[in-house]
């Protein structure tokens, strides 16, 4: 449902069905049904040894929405395991919009054994996006660590205004 910038009404102006449908019905629908995309996997088995930021999954964790212009919120929650040295080695996460990393890049550091599971949640807001189809991808890399694994993940992309 497309958003139309609301018109300014004038005293004595004749209100037509077409105007009401465009500026009331369609805009309310647009506010109610914001573009969104979601992916969740409670039993995934992603792993990486990449020192450079790469897509976690080029298919399922690359979500696209047709924005109506404005800001887009990306929420991520993932369960991570880090194989490497204690405390120093880590997995870094990030989200790209159309290939460009934005916002925070959480770091997950190993503690305890390789099997220890660390839950990380973060969000990124991409601001002032144009009216277009935009692609949002979850990325990661390792710093020092032998590898990082992801065994659960949820990702939500939603236009917020």
């Amino acid at each position: 449902m497309t958003w139309t910038f609301p018109k300014t009404w004038f005293a004595g102006e004749r209100v037509t069905a077409a105007l009401l449908n465009t500026h009331l019905r369609d805009n309310l629908n647009a506010l109610h049904v914001r573009p969104k995309a979601v992916y969740s996997n409670n039993a995934c088995s992603y792993s990486t040894s990449s020192a450079s930021m790469v897509n976690v999954d080029g298919t399922n964790l690359e979500l696209s929405i047709d924005t109506t212009g404005g800001d887009v919120l990306v929420l991520v929650q993932a369960t991570i395991q880090v194989a490497g040295q204690y405390w120093t080695d880590r997995v870094n996460l990030g989200v790209t919009c159309d290939g460009v990393l934005g916002g925070v890049r959480p770091q997950v550091t190993r503690y305890g054994s390789n099997d220890n599971k660390i839950v990380v949640s973060f969000f990124v807001v991409f601001q002032d996006l144009t009216i277009f189809t935009h692609d949002f991808a979850l990325q990661w890399n390792v710093t020092g660590a032998t590898s990082g694994s992801m065994i659960q993940v949820s990702m939500l992309v939603r236009e917020i205004g």
């Binding site: 995934c44 088995s45 992603y46 792993s47 990486t48 040894s49 990449s50 020192a51 450079s52 930021m53 790469v54 897509n55 976690v56 999954d57 080029g58 194989a83 040295q85 204690y86 405390w87 120093t88 990393l101 390789n114 890399n141 390792v142 032998t146 590898s147």
Partner: protein, 114 residues
């Protein structure tokens, strides 16, 4: 500025990611930045400016990879686990000096000392 990455894709049922990384690093050198795996599809990550003839070197390495083989880090981890198990069953005065030295290294690595 992040360097651009391009991927080579292969089908694999299992990998030892640490070992395969070492094997590909030895074959592809600094053009290679790592691998990613989702349980079925293996992606070999190369820097985008890697020469095209590098691509042909990855396939044979992936095909020859044996996931049940162990990397040096895997072996060290198993040896460390075995050492800790054996020390738990002995009194401290029965510990050998080399066992104490290695235990100290393990403990220091766990608290971030080394």
């Amino acid at each position: 500025m992040e360097r651009k990455i391009r991927d080579l894709e292969f089908e694999r049922a299992e990998i030892n990611i640490g070992l395969l990384h070492q094997e590909l690093k030895a074959a592809l050198g600094d053009h290679f930045t790592g691998v990613s795996f989702d349980g079925k599809k293996l992606r070999v990550h190369l820097f985008d400016d890697a020469p095209a003839d590098i691509d042909g070197l990855a396939g044979p390495v992936v095909a020859a990879h044996t996931s049940s083989d162990e990397s040096a880090a895997d072996k060290r981890q198993k040896e460390d686990a075995a050492l800790l198990d054996s020390l738990r069953g002995k009194k401290v005065d029965q510990w050998k000096q080399e066992e104490k030295d290695r235990l100290l290294e393990i403990l220091l690595s766990r608290v971030g000392g080394i």
